[in-house]
Every structure is written in C-alpha cells, then in structure tokens.
C-alpha cells in the first residue's frame, strides 16, 4: 500500500522533471519566445497523464481505506479529544541518523490524508487540463505545467508524509512553486514583487513552524507523526502550548490567516489556474490540514485554541469586508478565500476537526470552480475588473450557471455543498460557545458573533460579484487591446471560453453542488435556518442597492468604510513601514559599517603598521657616527645600571 502512496507522490514529481528537462532543446530550436506545437503537445501530455494516474490511485487508496475493516468514519463519530489510531497504511524507506533525533523517511496514509489527497489530485488534474486552453498562446507553458506538477507532488508529500520533517520538506517546496508560479509573468515587475512577498511572508511563518516541529520532536523523542501523536498525552501543557503556538505561525503563513495573510491578495498576480489550484483549493488548505493532522496536540493546548479563535474571528470578518469593496474579481475571491479559511480555523478552534475538514473539501471544490470560472470570464473580457464586465450571462452559457453554483456554495445556500459544510462549522462554534469548551467563553462568543456576521457579509459580496459580472448592462470594452495582458484573449468576441477550459469547469461544478450531501447527517437544522436567513439578508441588501441603480457599485453600502475596506484596513502599508523600511535601513547601515568600521579597523591597522615602521625607519639613517653614539650610550647605561643595582 505504501508503494501506491509513493507512486501517487512520485508520478507528478517525475512529470515535473520530464517537463522541465524533456521539452526544450538547449541548442538550436526557435528563437526565445517561440513555441512549437509539438513541444506544446508533449508538455501537455507529460503534465496531464501522470496527474490523472495519481488521481486514480489516490481515489483507489481512499476507497481501500474505506472498505478495510477499520471503517472510514467520514465526518461523523471520532469524538474530539480521543487519541487517534495509528495510520492504516504506513511504511518507512529509511531512517536517517542526524546525531540527535533521527529522521524517518516514510509515508503514512490515514483517512484524513487519503481524503485530502483526493481533493488535491482531482483539483490538480482539472487545473492541468484547464491550463492547456488557458495558456494556449504562452511560450513558457512547458515550465508552467512542470511547476504545477512539482507543486502537486509537494502537496501530496505533505499529505502523505510519515514524519514531520518530511512534511516540512514538501511544505517548503510548495512555497517555492507558489513563488515560481505567481511570478510566472515576470516581465511585469508587480508580479515579481508579489511572488517575492508571498515567499517571504510564508517563510517567516515557516521558521516558527520548524521550531514547533523541533519542540514536538524533542518532547516525543522522534519526528514520526504517529509517535508524536501517541506521546501527546505525556507532554506537559507548557510544551504543547509552545509547540502549537509555533506551529500556528506556519499555519497562519501558509493558510493566509491574520496576521500573515497579506500575501494572498497579491498572489492573484499569478495566472488564474494557479490561483485556483494553489491559492484557493490546495496549498492554502495545507495549514488547516496540518492542524487537523496534529489535532490531539492542539486540543491539549487551550491558549493556542483561544488565540486561533481570535485570529480566525478577525480574519473572517475583515477579509469578508475587504472582499465586499474590491473591484478586481480575483481579489474578491482571494479575500473570500482568507475568510473561508478562517471559518475552517474557527471550526478547529471550536474543537471540531471534522467540520473543518468537511469545509476544507467542499471549499476546495467550489473555490477552484469559482476561480476557473473567473479565469474564463477574464480570458474573454480581457480585464480583471468587474467594472469592465456585466451582462455576461447571455454569452457565457456554461460559465454562468457554473459560477452561480460556486457563488451559491460560497454563500451557503442549499443544496450547494457550502450550505452543509458551513452549517457544520457554525454548529460546532455554537456548540463550543454553549459548552464553554475547549475555548474560553469570551473567545467562543467572539468567534460565534463574527462567524454569523461574516455569513451576512459573505452573502453580500457574493451577490455583488455575481450581479456585477453577469447582470445589468455590459461594460465590456469592445475594442481590440493593443497589447493584451498575458493570459487573455486578444479581442472581445463575445464567445465562450474554449472547450478545454469548460470541461474542467463542468466537472468541478458537480462536487461543488453535490458534495455537501456526504455530510447531510451532520446538519443542525436550527443553526442552518439562522445562517441561511442571515446570508439572504446580506444578499438581499446588495440586491436592493443594485436594483436601485444597476450601473453603480453596491459597495457604496459600506459608506465611509469603503476605502479602508478596499485597502484591506491598511495592513500592508503598516507592515511596510514597520518591517520593510527598518530592515532596509539596517541593511544600508550594516553595509556602511562594514566598510568604515570593521574593514576600517583592518585598514587602520595596516596604516598604523606603516606609520610605526616609518618612525623606525628614521633611526636607520646610515650615519655611522650616530650608530656608534647609540652603542656607547647603551653601554654606558648598562654599566651604570650594573653598578647601581649590583
């Protein structure tokens, strides 16, 4: 079984290697920027086939786990707080002695891992197919698809890792792929900056994550995940709080949670398939996944859960408000991702990992769908801005219903999947508030209040985006773009996107609509009715404003809050002043100090040596009389000294 898991991880990796090395000729070939159709086709095959096999194997592994005697318990049962059984499938390749705690190079697959792996491979496959159409005129398609394959492999390594440090390896490689793909159109400096920002912000969190791994590893005497989880009951609360707080840093970085969320909206500079895959469905969910993976450790650390609840509250509401004011369709979706990930974090804080994972899976499906639809819209319109869209429901006959499903799921309207999973989250939070465990009362009620408020705002921004994109008068610029941005059609011709883009949209629409029924047994009808009403309230307010004036932006409802929301509450500029400016100042200071003080001392010592030797040189006059006088004077002094002292 481990062999199968290994194959799932390795196949995309080999595809990445083959895609990077095997699609171009080094010498000869066309001029830079040209793309041969044969090369393009080969790259597409190399990208799609291994991912498809991986997806099939991952699904098979999930069904295998579900049908083995240890029943796959879905999202029901598994009461919080109980220790987990060792993973059903695991194997070790080798043990690496480091001199302290050994590293176990191995894989493990449990229900959680198998489920998330299916999500990853299926979305990755959809995105690979979609990219064939989206990146059709793109000379760097081979490296683009190879990096997606590398990313898929890294994410699967995170999911299947049997050892925390192996997990960390995959975790960081994902970050690199994110960097490379955000910066895919590096001609534009803004994309390059966004890529650097994404890498650095997540890396900052990852340092804490690594130290958290150290803490857990030393407390457990090993980095193997099963060993760590088994040893959790023997660890002191102090250790657990330290370790989980540190891990939380990495989680906040990767999953774009407050206070390390600022990179995600900028990451939308990347091609839309990347936004769908990495920055909505999979990589950003890795943080949530890791918390769920090490959940016993988090449950033993109350303060960490409280902190997580507070951060999640701030994140979900703040990001939803920011989403309401954005004009860029992709940025709306980006802020919505932050907000939805905060829901998952909130569920985790409230003690329900199954609700969090349920929402993770449905969100993965519907957010990937939303992004792919947004990509189709952007592809034909030639702009990211909603003020350049409108009235698209008539021409985009596939994208419109698909995106409607996506928005319904995002708002939590039945029967779309988001309704069930969001209800599970809200029910869990409500439960925590009522019980007073595992959160403190204040944190639980704050979380519950913010979660309900966010439902309303989510309804509002989803309705706004839907109305502004597909309804009303068309605001599309009907002129040919002189120099089109990469990734968009050259001229608006009112047609739907190509079939290779529509197929993945259609395929993803199915789980986005129906996946929720897997958790139908979990529905808490009273909270479901409340949240549905709240969501409709938010949507209704926007609809009313839009009806009043279809040409104007319903974001005007925010009033004086609109500009702060659009600027995401100025967090970016504060960070820039507090972190970036001082570091750059310090760097210049160090460079100057190094030249003047540290090296100055070295040069100074050289100068002193030359000066001293200059003094000594004065004595070497070559005058024999002077030397003789000196010798005589010396003899005299010695003689006198001998007489006096002797």
């Amino acid at each position: 079984m481990t062999g199968v898991a290994g194959a799932v991880v390795l196949l995309p990796f080999l595809a990445a290697v083959a895609g990077l090395l095997g699609t171009r000729r080094l010498w000869g070939g066309g001029p830079p920027g040209s793309i041969e159709p044969a090369v393009y086709r080969r790259a597409a095959w190399i990208a799609v086939v291994p991912t498809a096999i991986s997806a099939a194997l991952a699904i098979w592994l999930l069904t295998y786990l579900a049908t083995t005697p240890r029943r796959f318990t879905s999202f029901v049962e598994h009461p919080a707080g109980t220790g987990r059984l060792p993973a059903a499938v695991q194997g070790t390749l080798t043990v690496i002695d480091t001199g302290a705690i050994p590293i176990t190079a191995g894989l493990r697959v449990d229900d959680l891992a198998a489920l998330v792996a299916v999500l990853v491979t299926v979305v990755a496959l959809a995105v690979q197919v979609y990219s064939i159409g989206y990146m059709r005129h793109e000379p760097r398609y081979p490296s683009f698809s190879a990096f997606i394959s590398l990313f898929t492999s890294a994410m699967l390594l995170v999911v299947y890792a049997g050892d925390l440090l192996v997990l960390y390896v995959g975790w960081e490689i994902m970050g690199l792929c994110s960097y490379l793909l955000i910066g895919h159109w590096w001609e534009d400096r803004a994309n390059s900056r966004a890529a650097v920002k994404a890498f650095l912000v997540t890396r900052l969190g990852d340092v804490g994550f690594l130290f958290g791994i150290f803490t857990l590893g030393f407390a457990a005497g090993g980095f193997r995940i099963d060993d760590v989880i088994a040893k959790v009951p023997t660890m002191s609360t102090g250790t657990l709080v330290t370790a989980t707080m540190l891990l939380l840093l990495g989680v906040a970085g990767k999953s774009a949670q407050v206070p390390l969320h600022t990179w995600l909206p900028d990451a939308m500079a990347g091609p839309t398939p990347i936004s769908a895959l990495i920055h909505a469905a999979t990589m950003v969910a890795a943080g949530i996944f890791v918390v769920a993976l090490l959940y016993p450790a988090f449950l033993g650390a109350g303060p960490t859960l409280d902190l997580l609840a507070v951060l999640a509250s701030a994140g979900m509401l703040g990001a939803a408000l920011a989403a309401l004011a954005q004009d860029d369709l992709k940025r709306v979706l980006a802020y919505s991702t932050i907000s939805q990930l905060a829901y998952m974090a909130g569920a985790l804080a409230a003690g329900s990992d199954q609700a969090a994972i349920f929402h993770l899976v449905t969100h993965g499906a519907f957010k990937a769908l939303l992004f792919l639809c947004a990509g189709a819209v952007i592809h034909v319109v030639g702009s990211n801005l909603m003020s350049d869209m409108g009235g698209l429901r008539r021409s985009m006959t596939v994208t419109f219903p698909a995106m409607t499903i996506g928005f319904a799921a995002l708002m939590g309207l039945p029967p779309a999947s988001g309704f069930f999973s969001k209800d599970a989250v809200l029910a869990a939070v409500e439960h925590a508030a009522a019980e007073g465990a595992p959160l403190t009362d204040a944190a639980a009620w704050l979380l519950y209040g913010c979660a309900l408020l966010t439902v309303a705002v989510t309804g509002a921004y989803a309705a706004r985006a839907w109305l502004r994109t597909f309804f009303g008068e068309s605001r599309v610029r009907q002129v040919a773009l002189p120099e089109p941005e990469p990734g968009v059609a050259h001229v608006w011709d009112g047609r739907e996107a190509p079939a290779s883009m529509l197929w993945p949209i259609g395929v993803l629409a199915v789980p986005a609509l129906l996946l929720g029924f897997a958790g139908v047994g979990l529905v808490d009808w009273s909270s479901a009715v409340i949240s549905l009403l709240v969501a409709l309230l938010g949507a209704g307010a926007v609809y009313a404003a839009w009806r009043a004036d279809p040409a104007a932006d319903p974001a005007r409802l925010l009033g004086p809050l609109r500009v702060p929301c659009e600027q995401a509450f100025y967090v970016d500029s504060v960070y820039y002043r507090v972190f970036v400016v001082p570091v750059l100042w310090l760097a210049r200071l160090v460079a100057r100090t190094d030249d003047t003080v540290v090296d100055g001392a070295v040069r100074g010592s050289g100068g002193v040596a030359i000066g001293v030797s200059g003094l000594l040189r004065r004595l070497q006059t070559g005058n024999a009389q002077l030397y003789l006088t000196g010798v005589l004077a010396g003899v005299l002094i010695i003689a006198v000294g001998a007489v006096v002292l002797g």
Binding site: P32, T94, I96, D97, W186, E187, N191, A587, G606
Partner: protein, 497 residues
C-alpha cells in the same frame, strides 16, 4: 591501498612539475589541466569507493613516516568520515574549474601558469584534508595561500593587487596565531599526532592552557572560515578573483577553517571548546544576520555572493558551537552543501560577468530570463538552493544547525542557544529576502533596451555545472548519503555513544 592517498597528492604535484618543463605551451596544453585533475578526481572516487563505511570513525589508508625527527614531525596522512567528503569535493571542484577553463579563460593570459598554480593549490587543499599531523596540517594550510594569492593578483579584476595583498596578509596573520595554538598543544602533550590527540579528548592539557590554545587555534581558523568580524578580506578577494579563483576560494578554502574546528580545535581541546562555545555561537549568529543584511544592501552580484558566504558559514559555525553530534554533522553537511552551491553561484556569476562585462546589478538591468533563459534559470536554481530550500542540499546543514542549537551539549546554556536558534531562524528569512530581491532585480522584468544577443550557456559551462546541480539535488533528496559517513566520525570525536 594507501598508494591512492599518495597519488592524490603526487598526481597534481607531478602534473605541476611537468608544466615547468614544457617550454612551449602546445595546443595539447588546453586539455592538460582537465586530464591531470581528472586523474586526481578518479583517484578520489576510487578512495571513496574502497572506503570502509562500516568503520567511518577510524582513519583509513593511513601512511605514517617520520619526516623531520628533530621536530617530531611525521608525514602522517589518512582519511576518515570527516575528511572523505571534503577530499572528493576538492577534487571535483578543481576538475570542474579546469573543465570550465578549457573555453573560458580569464583575462591575463598565461594559461600554463594558471594551470600550474591551480594544481599546486589542489595539492595544498587535498593535503590539508588528509593530514593527520598537526604540523603537517599547518604546512598544507599555508601552501594553499601562495597560489591563491597569485590567482587573485595575476588573473583578478581591476583592483586585484589590493585584494590579493589583503587576502594574504590577513590569512597569514591568522595562520601565525593558529601556529602558536598548535605549538601550545604540542608543548603540553608532546605529540603532534591528531589521531592520538583526538582519542585523548584533552587529557593532559590543563584547563587554562586548553582555553588559551582554543582561543589561538580558533582565531586562526575563524579568519579562514571566515567568522564575523574577521571576514573583510573575503568580499574584496571574491570580487576581484577570477571565476575559478572564487569557486575554489568559496568551495574549498573556507572549508579548511571549519574543518580545522571539527578535526582539531573541538576534539583536542574539549574543555576550551566548552568555555568558548557560547562566544563562537554568538559570533556565528551575528555573522548570519550581519551577512544577510550586508547582502541586502550590495550592488554587485559577486560581492553579494561573497557576503552570503559569511552568513552561510555562520550556520556552520553555529553548528560547531553547539558541541553536539548533530551540530557537527550540520557543520560538515553545510560545508559540502555550501561548496557545491556557492561554487555553482560563482560559476554562474562569472559567466554573467563574462557576457555583460560587469556584475553591477544596476548595469545588468532586468530580464535575464528573457535574454539568457538558461543562465537565468541556473542562477535561480543556485539562489533557491542557497537560501536553504528543503529538498536541496543547503537545507540540511542549516536545519541541523538549528536543531543542534535547540538542544546544545550539556554544560552549555540552553536559553542562550535558544536565542541563537531564533536569531538564526530570522537569518534564514533575511537570506531568502536578499536572494529573491536580487533575482527579482536581475532575472525578472524586461531587458532595458534592445541589446546585442548574448550567447546562452555553452557546452563547457554546462559540463562544469551539471555535476554541481545534480549533487545539490541528490544530497537534498537523500541526505543520508552524507550523514551516514560523517555521523560515526563525529560521535567518536565528541566521545558520544
């Protein structure tokens, strides 16, 4: 089998001697350097192949002859798990440098003289790692300086004279202090045999003498490493040195300092090490952050890479300062990884300078990925490897050093080392910052104006660089290959189980 050891020194030495006899450099000469260093590399690989990995802690293929009995100096060579990887790295990098030189000659001509210099340099470098006698170690340590001086002074850039003089004076001064320390050890133990000294774990040397000797030996080695604040010879030397000089300087010469810590200072003077380790650690982490910040403000590509060495060697020194097996493993891993990655970085930076005629970032402009896609990609790869991405070689050295600092040797202050660990962790973020900003500045964006087309990577460059890329990936994915060799030796040095 000990003939291989002799061969490792004799082949390049004989190769250099033959060069003196050849009066007229023939066309054949072009392949002479690669051939001689290739034979040396094959010998090193044979050595690695016939090495008994089950007994990696013990010196193997030993040769031990009296040389100058009056001084108790013995010609004592051997190889164990600590030195084997460095010997192979040295032979490999020298060979790759010669391969690169076949087509890419530095300005200053006189390729015969350059080959001679590099072969003598190789003798010194390999000898340093093979020596098992303190004085012999010192002799080889010194031999290295002279050819490197000439490499910088003759084939260097515009301000080569000053850089070369600073290099030689600074490192000679360090060597003088090192010699004093070695003599102090000799005065107390009456032996220069490193194997016996390491086995004694400091027995017979009083505590005060150990501290003094560690201070002297450590200072001498720290100049070479280089440790902050003794590093200022490095940026000048690197910036002015020709490509092959920079590669060998960063790839091998810096390792001689940290290797000396592992081989001599820490095992022979354990009490001195225990007293001074916190200082070593403090200087190391200051070096990490200081080096990274200095990199952020650099305008010159080669100078930036030079400062990055200060930061990376800071991690190596931090690993050493923990006095734990994991820290020492980290140091040795970091040594090899830095040799491979920074070697590659300097190769690529040299190639950029050769094409653009400058390594000033502002004059390079942007858009290298558009103008020279392969060179730009290789630069990206090298930078990503250098910033310590997991899955590539650079990560394991840094991570294990931090792991060592998380739990330093008994007797060292744990809170202090936790502070070091956190500072080191911040250093990794800064490291990523300067590399990515440099990449953003140089490789991204559009080329400034229509410029003459430059030739992308040449076959000789590719031949010289591919082994480095492959090894970086291989060691990153399979760190056990190196850790399994060094771990037993390191445990023996520290007397750990």
């Amino acid at each position: 089998m000990s003939a291989i050891i002799i061969g490792l020194l004799a082949v390049p030495l004989a190769g250099a001697a033959v060069l003196l006899l050849l009066t007229r450099p023939a066309r054949l000469l072009r392949w002479y350097g690669p051939a001689v260093s290739g034979v040396t590399l094959v010998l090193a690989l044979v050595l690695a192949g016939s090495f008994d990995y089950g007994r990696a802690a013990r010196a193997q293929f030993e040769i031990d002859h009296a040389w100058i009995p009056g001084l108790d100096l013995r010609f004592h060579l051997g190889v164990d798990g600590v030195s084997l990887p460095l010997v192979v790295l040295t032979a490999l990098l020298t060979f790759l440098c010669f391969l690169y030189l076949v087509r890419h000659r530095p300005e200053g001509g006189r390729s015969g003289a350059l080959a001679f210099t590099l072969l003598v340099l190789e003798v010194g470098m390999i000898g340093t790692f093979l020596a098992l006698d303190l004085l012999l170690f010192f002799v080889f340590f010194e031999i290295v300086l002279i050819p490197m001086y000439f490499v910088i002074a003759i084939w260097g850039g515009k301000e080569r004279r000053g850089a070369a003089v600073k290099f030689i004076l600074y490192t000679l001064l360090g060597s003088a202090v090192l010699l004093l320390g070695l003599l102090l050890i000799w005065a107390h133990t009456g032996t220069l045999d490193m194997v016996r000294l390491a086995g004694a774990h400091g027995a017979g040397i009083p505590r005060a003498a150990q501290i003094l000797a560690f201070l002297a030996v450590g200072a001498g080695l720290a100049v070479k490493a280089p440790m902050w604040p003794l590093h200022t010879w490095l940026p000048a030397a690197h910036t002015e040195a020709p490509t092959v000089g920079s590669v060998l300087l960063a790839g091998v010469l810096l390792k001689m300092g940290t290797y000396g810590f592992v081989r001599i200072a820490i095992p022979v003077l354990p009490e001195g090490a225990a007293v001074l380790a916190p200082w070593l650690g403090a200087f190391a982490v200051v070096g990490i952050v200081y080096g990274s910040l200095a990199c952020l403000a650099q305008r010159d590509l080669k100078r930036m890479i030079a400062y990055s060495s200060v930061g990376h060697m800071g991690f190596v020194l931090l690993g050493l300062a923990t006095l734990t097996p994991v820290g020492m493993n980290a140091a040795l891993f970091g040594n090899i990884a830095h040799g491979l990655i920074t070697g590659l970085l300097f190769f690529v930076a040299g190639a950029i300078k050769e094409r653009y005629g400058t390594s000033e970032m502002s004059r390079l402009g942007g858009g290298m990925l558009a103008r020279l896609p392969y060179l730009g990609s290789l630069l990206t790869f090298a930078c990503v490897a250098s910033l310590g991405l997991p899955g590539l070689a650079g990560f394991w050295g840094e991570m294990l050093a931090l792991l060592g600092a998380f739990h330093p040797a008994p007797g060292l202050s744990r809170p202090l080392f936790l502070v070091f660990m956190v500072v080191g962790g911040i250093g990794t973020v800064l490291t990523a910052a300067y590399f990515l900003l440099m990449l953003s500045r140089v490789t991204h964006g559009r080329p400034d104006e229509p410029v003459p087309r430059l030739g992308d990577v040449s076959p000789y460059e590719l031949a010289a660089w591919t082994p480095l890329v492959v090894l970086t990936v291989a060691l990153g994915l399979w760190p056990k290959a190196l850790l399994a060799v060094t771990d037993p030796a390191v445990r023996a040095f520290l007397g750990a189980p």
